[in-house]
Symmetry: C2
DNA sequence: ATGTATTTGCAAATATTTTGCAATCATTTT
DNA sequence: AAAATGATTGCAAAATATTTGCAAATACAT
């Protein structure tokens, strides 16, 4: 489905900036901060407040997810109904890498939670923190 | 090991506030924000900056972990070598609940990551987002 | 008890996100 | 296609969260 239809369906009008922000998120394989997105927007740029307002709107309508990684700021990513990612984050350089969960059996986990806590799981986030190959060799911490 | 020894071992002096902050984190079964901690400190309270500085110091020395849950601010929790928690967070009311991972087989997951990406996993964080029992009945969203 | 390095309080600086309001834009109705 | 209406935008200012410089106070090894 194209972005314009996607927006319409969610009851959001398709404005210039909203559309661009959604495109940027769609094209990024990593979650982005508001600043990242601001920087990637073409000139003439909108006001930063506009970026924030749009992100909030998109999150509210469940088109975008807000994730918070490690000790840094908020990140945003497009919600794609058919795929979700797990992430590995280097504690030394902060680099983030995302990968499709392979053989991730969290479904059964979620079922357990439903049974035990009567909590309805809608999504999960799984991040691994550690040291990336580059930092391992740079700092010999093996 | 008592807190004082723990601090010493990490090369941190045992100051009044550092000690209190560590105690508060130890006694909490949930991660806390800087504000939470500030509020829980006894009168006369230290400066908020002192809380921040201590938290940063404790994180740096790996006595405390900084986690970021959902869309809210930074949370801090004591690192306990022998246990780690997973969390369920209600997207509606923001309530956080922690539980000991039961039959969590992320170890093999971590091994895979090591093999595939040559990334050294040091810790992971797993959170489930959804709707808590109370909000489910309040808002009939089943 | 003393000396030194670390920590603290305070106030001010940064950083991040939100808000009010008038002007502008998107979309529906005519 | 123009008008009407409701949502969105820019701008500046506010709110919130976190960090910093510096002088005074504290921790702790000697």
């Amino acid at each position: 489905m194209d972005r314009k239809t996607r927006l319409k369906q969610s009851g959001l009008s398709c404005t210039r900036w909203r559309y661009s922000i959604l495109k940027i998120l769609k094209d990024s394989h990593l979650p982005l901060t508001s600043k990242d997105i601001y920087k990637m927007l073409p000139n003439p740029k909108p006001n930063l407040a506009t970026v924030y307002r749009n992100l909030n709107r998109l999150v509210e309508k469940n088109l975008v997810r807000c994730v918070t990684l490690g000790e840094r700021a908020r990140y945003y990513e497009l919600i794609q109904p058919d795929s979700h990612k797990h992430r590995i984050i280097c504690k030394t350089c902060g680099q983030i890498e995302a990968f499709e969960p392979v053989g991730c059996d969290l479904k059964s986990f979620e079922k357990l939670i439903r049974e035990k806590f009567n909590f309805k799981v809608e999504e999960h986030s799984l991040e691994f923190f550690g040291t990336c190959p580059r930092c391992q060799s740079l700092y010999q911490q093996n």
